[in-house]
Amino acid sequence: MQKVLTIFKKEFKAYFLSPIAYVVITVYLVVTNFLFFQGFFLINQAEMRGYFGLLPWIFLFFIPAVTMRIWAEEKKVKTLELLLTWPLRDTEVVLGKFLACFAFLGVAVLLSVTVPITVAFLGNPDPGPIIGGYIGSLLMGGAYLAIGLWVSSLTENQIVAFILGVVVTFVLFIVGNPFVTVVAPSFLIPLFNYLGLGNHFMSISRGVLDTRDVVYYLSIIGFFLFLNVRSLESRKWE
């Protein structure tokens, strides 16, 4: 556990040592605020449903940008060879890195509290869906992060990691979207609805925190972190 913390601190700090973090967070905040407030005054309702509706789409691009360098860079500059010969378990390294990404996501999400504050100034929003929405965005973001992290472990090129991350999360997101479920064979629809990355988020952001939705995101996180450990082990396969 101590080792996880050491990796976590190092990785989290690394974000803020390079300008990428500031750029990514700024772009995230500007884009979400702009898209949200564009429609906000037209609808004229003091609520954040529109904001949370945007997040699954924004995360498609924001999250892979957060995770792309994590493994790809270690592979590229060969620090992985040193990292994996230190007395660490693969799981400790994966977990430490994931938690660092998650903390980074937390910072970005925290900085977006200006939105509910503004909304609260302008009207009288129901706090339930807003709190639910924030919890949901952390859970959903965590799932996106686990996917992005795994994808990053497959390549040594950050750009490839980014694009592949967008593609994989997009596929997992779109299967649950009406766009696909409308045309899917009927026996697959419940499965697709369940698998869709955004569906559970939508129910949480209505203010209903159902354990099934939490379990869904936690299992997605667990599954992709497991794949990540496996992909580190792949160096040992013949």
Binding site: Q2, K10, L17, S18, V77, K78, T79, T85, R235, K236
Partner: protein
């Protein structure tokens, strides 16, 4: 060196590693005693790095066994990694970290903390001549300093087995001398494996040398054993004045001479390179020969077969 059962630091038996078609290590068998500095020598691509990656538990062998301090690398890989300090080729480091911060990070991973960690990382900075660089970003350091950070990182937990892959690359001659001293000092108590493709480095530091080529061990021994045991004979260099024809036939007739090359030197002098096929010194015979023939002799020197010759002979073709 005591002969108790635990005096072997590393034991490699029948080690094989294949990457698809490539056979990177073939039936490697060697062991290193505690407190020994072993030179692991071979041309680029001979399988040095692959072997070290196996010993450090980065990749597993295809077959064979490796034991570090009696512990099998497959069964006790965390324990093995705790005992090893490893400097990979080109010292891959996190370039956005500061030197001191990086050493503390590695120290924490190695399970150190608090005052002990501070003391140890300060020690390492001093030993590796990095104290002035502690607050510099690693990415902005020169190659030589990066190499030292890599070395400090490998030694921070005072490992029993230190593995250095091309540790001198990028260092200037003064730094090479310094680091060589450092490695020798460590080698008094600890076991060191020193991989390199540069002979002079290895022969200056190591008491025992292993030469690998194409994944297999082709020679093993002290530098002296390697040069003398090769049966390469000796090389002589002469500068004589006299009739070229008679010089050529005269020297060729000396007992023990296997081959000569003759070329014109400045003035009337002729330069002759003589190769002997015995390990016996034929210098005196060459001298006698030139005196008997009435040639003037301005130079006669023996060039013992160098480790370079041994190396080239073993690793070529």
């Amino acid at each position: 060196m005591s002969n108790n059962t635990n005096s072997t630091m590393l034991e490699v038996a029948d080690l094989n590693k294949r990457f698809g078609e490539v056979h990177a290590a073939r039936d490697l068998n060697f062991s290193i005693r505690k407190g020994e500095i072993l030179g692991f020598l071979g041309p680029n691509g001979a399988g040095k790095t692959t072997t070290m990656r196996i010993v450090t538990c980065f990749i597993p062998p295809t077959s064979g066994s490796v034991k570090v301090d009696g512990l099998d690398i497959r069964e006790n890989d965390l324990e093995v990694r705790r005992r090893i300090g490893y400097l990979p080729e080109n010292a891959p480091l996190y370039s956005d970290m500061l030197v001191g911060e990086y050493l503390r990070f590695v120290g924490e991973i190695r399970g150190m903390e608090g005052d002990a960690l501070t003391r140890r990382s300060d020690d390492m900075l001093r030993v590796c001549g990095l104290t002035a660089m502690a607050n510099r970003q690693i990415g902005k350091l020169s190659k030589g300093y990066r190499q030292r950070v890599g070395l400090a990182q490998a030694m921070i937990h005072d490992p029993d087995l230190l593995i250095l892959d091309e540790p001198m690359s990028g260092l200037d001659p003064n730094q090479i001398v310094e680091i060589r001293q450092l490695i020798k000092r460590i080698g008094r108590e600890k076991t060191v494996i020193y991989c390199s493709h540069i002979l002079s480095e290895v022969s200056a530091t190591c008491r025992r040398i292993l030469i690998v080529n194409d994944g297999a061990i082709v020679a093993e021994g002290t530098p002296e054993e390697l040069t003398s045991g090769m049966g390469t004979g000796n090389r002589y260099h002469l500068r004589v004045k006299g009739d070229r024809q008679s010089i050529e036939s005269g020297i060729q007739a000396v007992q023990g001479v296997s081959n000569i090359t003759v070329e014109d030197s400045s003035g009337d002098w002729t330069a002759v390179h003589v190769f002997s096929d015995t390990t016996e010194d034929i210098g005196e015979k060459l001298f006698r020969c030139s005196v008997d023939n009435g040639w003037s002799l301005s130079e006669l020197r023996r060039e013992a077969a160098s480790l370079e010759d041994v190396f080239t002979q073993l690793t070529r073709g």
